[in-house]
């Protein structure tokens, strides 16, 4: 479904993404874990079209979408739930959702709105509230719902559990699990590695701009030296 080959993104003078390649197959939940500064957000931003890659290819459903603008990517079926959620705080919850479905015909948009409301019962009660008043967890749900309003083929998520209290983190991973059961294709960047690996099919580990490990999620979760791989500690130089 989504194929990334030899992607390189430069951000000012930094080469934030160095020769990254990965695949997300239809119906899979694939995660990308790694420490902060590894380039994960830059990678997602490049795939979604907010940044231009200096080299490499991005293919969506066999179509070459490298370097496409974000609105074009969305129409092609790729939606991003950005880091820090970035909901429109001046809008109501309902308006946020409607904006998410702006590329859909009006009738379909309202169908999708009903779907989202049933998927996120918390939002149902707050439809007319200004989105800025939502709590962190509710805002995260809104951001995800908003992205789903475009009926995407692939949903990208950037650190959905960021800044959330533990009980809200539960909700988020619960949701991811439900989306997985519903057959959605997800590509999730996460910091909370253990929780994420529990709900994912496959995982990639990224550090300093490069993929340093990958495999089935369960395998990585069980591995002894995950912590070392993750943070790059090479045995004992104190």
């Amino acid at each position: 479904m989504l194929d990334i080959e030899s992607l390189v993104t430069r951000y000012g003078t930094i080469t934030a993404v160095r020769d990254v390649g990965l695949t997300v197959r239809a119906g899979e939940v694939v995660c990308l874990i790694g420490p902060n500064g590894a380039g994960k957000t830059t990678l997602l931003a490049t795939v979604a079209g907010l940044l231009r890659p200096s080299a490499g290819r991005v293919t969506l459903d066999d179509a070459d979408v490298t370097g496409w603008a974000p609105d074009r990517m969305l129409r092609a079926g790729l939606a991003l739930v950005p880091e820090h959620r970035r909901i429109f705080s001046d809008f109501t919850v309902r308006e946020n959702l409607l904006v998410g479905g702006i590329t859909q015909p009006a009738s379909r948009r309202h169908e999708l709105l009903d779907e989202m409301v049933s998927l996120f019962p918390i939002l149902k009660e707050r439809l007319s509230a200004p989105a800025g008043y939502l709590s962190g967890g509710e805002a995260q749900q809104l951001a995800i719902g908003r992205a789903l309003m475009s009926d995407p083929a692939v949903l990208l998520m950037d650190e959905p559990s960021l800044g959330l209290a533990p009980v809200l983190v539960d909700q988020v991973f619960d949701l991811i699990g439900r989306l997985r059961e519903g057959g959605r294709t997800l590509f999730v960047v996460e910091q909370n590695a253990k929780r994420m690996l529990a709900v994912a099919d496959r995982a990639y580990v990224m550090r300093s701009g490069e993929i340093v490990a990958d495999g089935p999620a369960a395998q990585l979760a069980a591995s002894e030296d995950l912590f070392e791989t993750y943070l790059g500690q090479s045995g004992g130089t104190a």
């Binding site: 003078t13 080469t15 420490p35 800044g163 910091q191 253990k194 912590f227």
Partner: protein
Amino acid sequence: MQADRVRHAVAPVLGSGLLFLFLVAGSLLYAATGDAAANSLVTQMLINAVVVLGIQIYIGNTGVLSFGHIGFGAIAGYAFAICAISPERKLRQIPNAPFGLAEVDFTPLQSGLIAVTLTVIVAFLIGLALSRSGARSGAVAAVVITLALLFVVHEVARNWIDLTRGGKTGLSFSPLGNATLQGKLPIYLILLGAIGLARLFKETRAGRLAQAAREDDLAARVMGIDPAVQQMIALLLSVVVVSAGSALRVFELGSINPRLFFFDYTLLTLTMLIVGGRNSVVGALTGVLIITVGSELTRNLSEVDIQGMNWLLRDGLTDIFLGGAMLGFMILRPAGLLGDWELDHWSLRRLRRTEPPPVPPPSTDGDQTPTTVLKVTNVTVHFGGYQALADAGLEAASGEIVGLIGPNGAGKTTLLNVITGLVESDNGQTALGGVILTGVSPHVIARSGLARTFQNFRLFSALSVRENIGVVRLVAKHFRRDRPLPPVGALMAQAGLWEQRDRRASELDYGNARRLELARAAAAGPEFLLLDEPTSGMSDSESRAMIDQVRSMAKLIGAGVVVIDHDLNFITGICDRVYVLDQGRVIAVGTPAEIAANPAVQTAYLGTAE
């Protein structure tokens, strides 16, 4: 380096002199060949050059967009006219002038001095207003305040008929409005002064500090610079020059009315400044030349009668040229034709190529300087409903290297921001060597001995490596005299930047840029270096090299270090102690080995499998 400083002053002076001679020779030549009209054109061009140079001193060095500098010109122009016009003529034009001004009788020189002094006083008030509103490079407030000046002065001049005879007729020196300025000597003298002042100001301490603030206001503050002070100095100097030029303009013209110093003249002078390059003195003069020639050409063209071309060659062509030039350059070449190049840069470059790399001085020994402790306690920070820090803190002693780690969003950078005064904490305290720094302005904290780097580095892009470090050293020389301050060259050599010393910071590759950030912070002579992810984006080998960099730099200046980073190799290799932050709290403290083995730390980073 001593010789270098002499060259810094001598070369610009020589360059300015050269420029002046070139202009004067050129204009004398042109005036000699032509008629009275050519003479007048040259005179006006030289006077415009003075005014534009005045504007350049401010806009070029501070980056603050002042649309109202011509308002200062209006004040000076009217003050000059009211003082210098003979009492007989004054009594006929403004008999009811207040304060008995209709009877004053001053020589042109006296009037000029009065005009400049008066305008500078007004400028001081405007400067206070600008700093109060926090005018920064490009900020809207500065545009509004300076436009207000332009507008208000214009309105006053139009309506205060007793003083200015209003807008319809204005004031004049003689019945026929003849040019009253005899000979060009005053113009030459003032122009020479303006060129010298503008060029030399760029090299002075105030000029350099203003340029740093222009490049990055936040980074400048954090290095100990108070932009408001430098901007005020630049403003006052610029107004001196603009006032002198405006008085000249009125004297040459022999009359004054409000339209003379309003939008049209603003457009003209700003276009001249932009076309040549607002950060350069020779650029400003080039712009004056080009626009004068262009305006004259279009004016002549508009009067020409060519079959079939009358749709283009008509009145208003000059304004099209001016507006088009402004627009064109902003779209195509915002830095102007010459950017920030100066005539003497060419000579300096040749001289510098022969400089040998400096010998690094012996590093300061830990027990020569007394131990200072940085103590941060009980810091709590809320952003709206979100708690960024809860009772966080740390302690570091000089000579120590302390690490601060934790997952994304843990609050590490926020803590650093609180310590350096960029973020207000709800409660908590920062103390350096017993001195409380909580709630103090960032630039004062920097001067007290804390220097920091940024995660997304904030270098002074248009300045060279040497200038980046040098400008911080200028501040340190004044406020950190009792600290070891290795020479700028030594710092550059230590950071491996000697070969790049004259390259612009914006042209450096990533690794060099990071090292420059470090060297620049070291130049501040701090008690503690606070580094925010110095290895972010680096490969493993580069991170390892950074360990040595940080250690040796810290030793060189005798400072302690607090470093935020995610690379555990780096942290383990360099830190004596490590604090771990998660969700705004300190969850562990210890040696790197202890931290790595701590299950709570593992959980914080990887999460629980629950």
